[in-house]
């Protein structure tokens, strides 16, 4: 029996290496429902955070106006004590949910990302702390640079 099982493991390993089997994709959590939501309300419902209280403890540093929507730098800091996660959404994107980060012991609730924005829109950030949810928004204008050539 051992012999057979080891043979099977080797085969699976080989398939894995050949990239035919999806290795960890199925295992790692990725909230497909939330990331496929077409509105931020729907995305937040799928994330289990239907409502969030406005809070000045969330700082969003981002340019007021972006020369191009392909790369919009967004830096988020949560000063709310006990923050365990930060969610970033761009309201007017086809799929508003951009990213979700969970922070455990050893990490500060801070992240800087480059996001894509289809057009001028509000960026909404949700922070979870002590079982409650808080939010802040900031509008970023997106323009067309260059000669359009």
């Amino acid at each position: 029996m051992m012999q057979k099982r080891r043979g099977l493991l080797h085969a699976a390993g080989a398939l894995l290496l050949a990239g035919l089997l999806k290795p960890m994709a199925a295992l790692a959590a990725w909230n497909k429902a939330a990331f496929s939501s077409k509105t931020s309300a729907e995305a937040l419902k799928s994330l289990g955070t239907p409502s969030a209280e406005a809070s000045g403890g969330i700082l969003i540093e981002a340019p007021q106006i972006a020369e191009n929507g392909a790369v919009v730098p967004i830096e988020v800091t949560s000063n709310i004590p006990g923050t365990t996660s930060i969610v970033v959404l761009v309201e007017k994107n086809p799929y508003p949910l951009v990213a979700k980060f969970e922070f455990s012991e050893g990490a500060l609730p801070f992240v800087k990302i480059n996001a894509k924005m289809g057009e001028t829109s509000d960026v909404r950030v949700i922070a979870a702390a002590g079982g409650k949810h808080y939010q802040a928004t900031k509008e970023i204008k997106v323009t067309i640079g260059g000669c359009g050539g």
């Binding site: 994709a25 990725w30 990331f35 392909a70 979700k100 012991e105 801070f110 992240v111 480059n114 996001a115």
Partner: protein, 98 residues
């Protein structure tokens, strides 16, 4: 085959600043007519312990760059950042805190 990554981890006034660059097309449904290719999961580890887990999407820019901040930290701490995309490709990079 996943493209190169680059990471820098430096002590900065009470926290460790981690900046990681990843080569990835991060294509969207619209660009690929339904066959998007983007990183879904990010994991940041310090000395083997996971401290940050990220779920990201096709709305993150191509060749993603992330900055994170780790509590305290000391020179020599081992920082590892790895990613997994929606096609099962993975890559990771390690560095010691400078």
């Amino acid at each position: 085959m996943a493209g190169p990554m680059k990471m820098r981890a430096t002590l900065a006034g009470g926290y460790t600043d981690v900046r990681v660059l990843m080569t990835h097309p991060m294509t969207t449904e619209q660009q690929t007519k339904g066959q998007p290719h983007f990183i879904q999961n990010l994991t940041v580890k310090v000395n083997g312990k996971t401290v940050i887990e990220g779920e990201i999407s096709q709305a993150v820019s191509r060749n993603p760059v992330f900055s994170f901040r780790l509590k305290g930290g000391a020179k020599g701490d081992q920082i590892e950042v790895s990613w997994l995309d929606n096609k099962g490709d993975t890559n990771k990079t390690e560095t010691a805190v400078a």
